[in-house]
């Protein structure tokens, strides 16, 4: 099998290219996805090679992007919509939660909306307001949507293809601060079955406590685990990958072994994914827990100005501090 070293962004590009090649019904649409290749260049070169009927520069209107994509899906297309930044998905919120999420249900299964909504998400790139949001809880709380994210180039490459091949509407969150991180990608392995999307994976095995993360925070947790190992503490890191529906079997198994868990995400704490993961772990592993499940998250404030974002974002130290607290409970 051919292995290439790609950045996460290039892996997404390669995955979409494959999808465009394999299925003539796949179309990519969004603001600046054509000649520019998107502001992050994730669609770079695709319009050139597949034409402007397959890779469509749209008017500047997010509700329009998602709403017309619904119409294209009704006609049998498989639209892959790019939202330029996390903070700009909200004009499309109504179309996403009231239409995309519900049409299959409304039609009692007669209609499928095989749409992927790609959103670069999260902070850490020094951007201005609205460019660093983590909206995953909004979408994950919405029945009818699936939500996925990737933490490394290999997953990016496979998961974007799976998402496009799946008949479920999928919000695909791309960890923008990791776009430039490189890793090995097996480029011509056969696509795993479209469903289930990649389940959670153990990113690093460990025995003393369980770190649960996804997207951009997986790297942070892996770094934390490396640092902890130097102090003789073995942390297991689990990358959730699919955020809705959550796949927590491995998490339960891990927590039953370790007795301690810390969930890490950038989004605000209050009613975030961490709350759900904590509540479910507690239900499932009640008698195994040595301490409550702790959360290390963004604060419950609007995403702050970039010069303080490093203090806002969970980092290695805050993760290890929480681990310490689980031991001191």
């Amino acid at each position: 099998m051919a292995t290439e070293t790609l950045t996460l962004g290039k892996a997404l590009n390669a995955g979409m290219r494959k999808a465009l090649e394999n299925d003539p019904k796949v179309v990519i649409m969004g603001e600046d996805v054509g000649k520019l290749g998107g502001v992050f260049r994730i669609t770079d070169g695709l319009q050139k090679d597949f034409g402007d009927q397959r890779v469509i520069d749209t008017p500047l209107a997010e509700s329009g992007i998602i709403g017309t994509a619904v119409g294209l899906a009704i006609r049998g297309y498989r639209p892959v919509c790019e939202i330029q930044f996390d903070g700009f998905v909200y004009p499309a919120y109504d179309q996403i939660v009231s239409q995309v999420a519900k049409m299959h249900y409304r039609s009692r299964g007669k209609l499928k909306i095989p749409m992927v909504i790609r959103i670069p998400f999260g902070g850490g790139i020094g951007a201005v307001e609205h460019h660093s949001e983590s909206p995953e809880a909004y979408f994950s709380h919405t029945p009818g949507l699936k939500v996925a994210t990737c933490a490394n180039p290999q997953d990016a490459y496979v998961m974007i293809q799976q998402a496009i091949a799946s008949d479920d509407p999928i919000v695909f969150l791309e960890p923008k601060r990791r776009y430039w991180e490189k890793g090995p990608v097996e480029v011509d392995q056969p696509l795993p079955e479209a469903y289930p999307l990649q389940a959670a994976r153990v990113a690093r095995p460990g025995t003393d406590a369980t770190l649960i993360a996804y997207g951009p925070m997986v790297r942070t947790c892996l770094d934390a685990a490396t640092a902890a190992a130097e102090d003789g503490r073995e942390l297991e890191v689990i990358d959730l990958r699919t955020l809705a529906p959550l796949d927590l079997g491995q998490v339960y198994e891990s927590v039953r072994r370790t007795g301690r868990a810390v969930v890490v995400h950038e989004a605000p704490s209050n009613i975030g994914l961490g709350a759900e993961v904590a509540a479910r772990i507690t239900e499932e592993c009640f008698y195994s827990l040595e301490s409550p499940v702790l959360r290390v998250t963004g604060f419950d404030i609007p995403y702050p100005a970039s010069r303080v974002e490093e203090e806002y974002l969970p980092d290695l130290d805050r993760v290890l501090d929480a681990v310490d607290r689980t031991f001191g409970w």
Partner: protein, 391 residues
């Protein structure tokens, strides 16, 4: 299956007694049949398009039949709601001509995107009128396949469907399905109130930029629930189109012939690659917004009476009578059919079963979800725990 496709703009087969070139009293309004039942042979729209229709007697009668039928079925649904058999009903009363005219203007290959009120269009598409009643009864939320019927599910969120229609029409272009008589076109229905929504205006932008083969069909029934037209616009709505670079026309929405002519023309333009257009069907909602509404709170009886005089069915009947196209036997027979169909509808509504409770877990995702599966299983187990108990 759509109803027959009589031609538009062809030579007249019946000499109509009153033949007048140009618009009626209101120069902005395309009209081919006056409230008194006088035929106008042809009329020129604001952009110079000449509208005329020439139907056989048979065809004229069938228009009348459809109008009566959709009104009667609608009244039956209202009655069913009053008797607690439906949770809600959004009546089309007064808007029959706009719906039958436009609905019959669709060709078989065309796709319609309705709101929640297009029961008349649905009927003209040849769809069983029982289809949308599950939604209003509360046993489902639509539940049909838009592609099977070339008729999207009812959309309740105001304006959302106009973007779906536009995307679908973009797909027609992408499939290369325009440019011939067999070309496809889309019609998107919405109300006067909907014209204020961002989505509707975005759909105008997109349709224009992508030259989407579609017709925006706005039934201006003068109200958005309690709010009169002036809460949405200070100029006639059809002129909105000019702001986006495509044609707009106002048609007498109580005139089934003009509604047909204008829609057919616009759809045919679209299917031939000439892009979108907007039709404002000027009409009136004779009843309440829905069965939950009380229009006496916000409009006066005299206004309703004035519109009563423009009734779409009365004028068609007057025309048929004056022209001796139909006689009392015919009218009686149509009434008879309407009654039969409405009784049949009622019978079937009463028989609509309630959904199996655990079916609510079905069809959340094409590929399913472990979370939903788990909840379904727990729910069944929970229900079983009551079995044999007094619950």
């Amino acid at each position: 299956m759509a109803k027959g496709d009589p031609g538009v703009s062809t030579r007249g087969r019946r000499a109509v007694p009153r033949s007048r070139k140009g618009a009626t009293g209101d120069p902005e309004l395309v009209q081919l049949l006056t409230p008194e039942g006088e035929r106008i042979e042809s009329v020129t729209g604001p952009d110079g398009t000449e509208y005329r229709v020439d139907f056989t007697d048979e065809e004229y009668r069938s228009f009348y039949r459809d109008l009566v039928l959709v009104r009667k079925l609608d009244a039956e649904a209202t009655a069913l709601q009053r008797q607690g058999e439906l949770g809600l009903w959004a009546s089309l009363l007064g808007q029959e001509a706009a719906q039958v005219g436009s609905g019959r203007a669709l060709r078989t290959q065309d796709m319609a995107f309705p709101t929640y009120r297009e029961h008349g269009v649905l009927y003209c598409r040849g769809i069983d009128p029982i289809m949308p009643l599950g939604l209003f009864r509360g046993v489902d939320q639509g539940g049909w396949d838009p592609n099977e019927f070339k008729f999207n599910m009812y959309t309740i969120v105001i304006g959302a469907q106009t973007l779906h229609a536009t995307g679908y029409a973009m797909g027609i272009n992408m499939d290369g399905k325009t440019g011939t008589d067999e070309g496809e076109a889309v019609i998107a229905y919405f109300g006067d109130g909907a014209t204020s929504q961002g989505d509707v205006n975005e759909s105008f932008v997109w349709a224009s930029v992508f030259n989407a083969p579609m017709v925006f069909f706005c039934q201006n029934n003068q109200y958005a629930i309690s709010e009169p037209l002036e809460r949405q616009t200070r100029i006639p709505l059809y002129r909105r189109a000019a702001g986006f670079g495509f044609p707009g026309v106002r048609v007498d929405g109580n005139d089934v012939l003009a509604s047909y002519a204008v829609t057919r023309h616009a759809l045919d333009n679209a299917r031939h690659g000439q892009g979108p257009s907007l039709i404002e069907a000027y009409t009136y909602r004779m009843g309440a917004h829905t069965t939950s509404d009380d229009p006496t709170r916000y409009r006066i009886a005299s206004e309703v009476e004035a519109w009563q005089a423009k009734d779409p069915i009365a004028r068609m009947k007057a025309f048929l009578v004056k022209q001796k196209i139909a006689d009392d036997d015919f009218f009686a027979e149509v009434d008879e059919q309407a009654k039969r169909e409405s009784v049949h509808l009622r019978e079937r509504v009463l028989e609509m079963p309630n959904p199996e409770p655990s079916s609510m877990f079905d069809h959340v995702y094409p590929n399913g979800s472990p979370l939903v599966d788990q909840q379904r299983a727990q729910f069944k187990q929970y229900l079983e725990s009551f079995e044999g108990s007094a619950h």
